[in-house]
Symmetry: C2
Subunit: 134 residues, 2 copies
């Protein structure tokens, strides 16, 4: 089962390369923090603020690529946690089929905010994070 | 007309965000420097050194995406210079057609070294750079 999330906050810390993106449940109050790199945090931040760029940045390139290849990114899912590392998937619709492509949550979130598609987290992962906080 | 290039050197400078990638003509001695960001330079450097990663990084994600969508990146071309900014294209083959996708030279070079496809520069751009150096 997946839970729809939205971006709540990006905490950018220029001292080290551990930036934090906080997702919040769309229909609830649970939140889900993810550590990302400075470049990825900057990329997500720029997109939210709608900052213009003269050339397509990497996540715009991905969005253009998928479109030009006749497919559509349906949503992104943060799908797994192994050895303290989160894994995500882009779910892409093409010719009626759904194709999962593995990626890092930071890329997945940057793409989701670029093209405005839903962000999901697997319910079990969300529950694990909440339990860890107790 | 395009000229086949290869990666000669990456100069990483941690003091500012102006890293330099130097391309060299495959069948000649002319070289072509391009300024890229630290993240992009790091990404190209990691690929050349074959450093393993546990999750697909952004340029691996692009390579996987194109493959899973039934297409193939044929080569990359540094195609234009406008207002001191270089522009590039990924040339993608799909169902016998060639599709050009705009991108930054840094992404194009990172993708080319990831999947080992040729790097081209438009002859006029190469000539302009050489003339500037005279």
């Amino acid at each position: 089962m997946t839970v729809a999330m939205e971006l709540r906050r990006i905490i950018i810390n220029e001292i080290d390369d551990q930036q934090i993106v906080i997702l919040k449940e769309v229909e609830g109050e649970r939140s889900f923090p993810i550590v990302v790199g400075l470049y990825e945090a900057g990329s997500i931040d720029r997109r939210i603020k709608g900052m213009p760029t003269i050339r397509p940045l990497t996540h715009d390139l991905i969005a253009n690529l998928v479109e030009q290849l006749g497919a559509e990114i349906q949503d992104i899912v943060i799908s797994d946690l192994r050895d303290h590392t989160y894994f995500a998937k882009l779910r892409i619709r093409k010719d009626g089929e759904l194709i999962d492509i593995d990626c890092r949550p930071s890329d997945a979130i940057a793409i989701a905010v670029t093209i405005k598609v839903p962000i999901y987290v697997i319910e079990d992962l969300l529950r694990d994070v909440i339990e860890d906080e107790d």
